[in-house]
Symmetry: C2
């Protein structure tokens, strides 16, 4: 490389937690659109390195969606060691973003393209909740978790999830391989966990919204299965709100 | 009773959750002092009953302290059944307060004087945290949970806790009977749980602040024990911030 700036640039892997409530999402947007996590982290890098940084996430999260384990790579120019970068970032960033780790990586690692699995959770509270109101969707009617778990059996494996994505999604195909999907009861909360190689836009929220219709008895698990195989968004239920959705973890073939 | 208003008044037991971040505490204060949980609930009752309500809590929680199971009794005048009162309150109250249950009780029940045990938790995060930043104290140095649990052995039983309370506390005596006290590790969090018949002002936070000094190696568990028996606040450590403290539950002899 002849460009001296390029020569000194490093590629770091970041693990990031954020409360998405007050962000318009992960992805940088046009000026004035609101706070984004990506832009906020890029600016934090600029503050202490004095040069531009490029931060690329494993995927977008929408407005109001949270992360406990978003992964990004950052192309930055600084001589600081990773431990000092971690402290500098957490010292600069607002309280709704926390960097959990910074490690050295190289050009073979791409936060988005190297990812082999994403893991999300979605939390429903069956009672009004104050403390967890930013991370749980309050559903007032009783839900049958057994029939919601029946739906999960239809999700697991490789399927075309066209019926569970926003119509405007621009993707080459709709096939996703789901390796785990289940609901668990924890006190007055119901937590949905889903692991897959990829997710379509609004997919988890559309699945949750539809399974809630099953849980309250509006649809049967068989109708859920029919909606999935139909490939038609109109046979699925409403999209659950972003509040309960958390990107928990992103897995890579190499650490 | 000759007063018709008195005749129609009822006594209800409430279980209350709140995020204390944006309150100056439970206890009603002089006008202009800020939002209190007690006042906010009294006003919610007034909104739908059209008459004054008196709400009495099991005890005060300080500014910034949370509750998952605060208990109060409310003296109110309304003909609505408990289920409707619960819905009305949750419909009116701001999102940082949730009423978990409303049940009928009578003059034999007093939220404060009938309580036989209070249970608190205090959460420390050993890494910066975004999602739980309102309910966990971020402590940046590593903590030895074994020596912190050594301290707990000295707390359990009946002791004079004068060394662990604010000097201005106005109480007849300082004896408290602690029935459980322990730290548990949950991932990157350390959670302290303590159950006692009564708590002095700032007692849990002073205990936590002092045990953190033990956990980081500044004091030994023996010095912690000496501080307790000294009865002198100056031998104990600093008071931990309110952010991590949650009133979990209040127990009564009768349900």
């Amino acid at each position: 490389m002849d460009d001296p700036a390029q020569e000194s640039s490093r590629r770091l892997k970041l693990i990031i937690e954020y409360d998405g409530t007050d962000f318009v999402g992960w992805q940088m947007q046009a000026a004035g659109a609101g706070r984004t996590v990506q832009q906020t982290i890029q600016e934090a890098f600029q503050t202490f390195t004095g040069s531009d940084a490029q931060v690329v996430g494993s995927g977008r999260t929408d407005s109001g969606v949270h992360a406990r384990g978003q992964v990004a790579h950052a192309i930055v120019q600084t001589g600081l060691d990773c431990e000092k970068i971690l402290k500098a970032l957490n010292g600069i960033l607002p309280h709704d973003i926390a960097i959990l780790s910074v490690t050295e990586t190289d050009g073979s690692f791409h936060a988005r393209y190297s990812a082999i699995e994403r893991r999300y959770s979605y939390t429903i509270s069956n009672v009004p909740c104050a403390i967890d109101r930013r991370v749980a969707w309050y559903v007032r009617y009783p839900l049958n978790v057994v029939s919601m778990n029946e739906c999960c059996k239809h999700i697991i494996g490789e399927h075309d999830f066209r019926a569970f994505t926003s119509s405007q999604a621009e993707v080459h195909h709709y096939r996703c391989t789901v390796t785990a999907a289940f609901w668990e009861q924890q006190g007055t909360k119901l937590i949905f966990r889903i692991h897959a190689n990829r997710f379509l836009h609004n997919m988890v929220r559309a699945l949750v919204g539809t399974m809630v219709e099953v849980g309250r008895g509006y649809y049967s698990p068989e109708e859920f299965s029919t909606a999935l195989t139909s490939g038609d968004r109109k046979y699925a239920g409403p999209t659950a709100p972003p509040v309960g959705l958390i990107l928990e973890e992103v897995l890579y073939s190499h650490a």
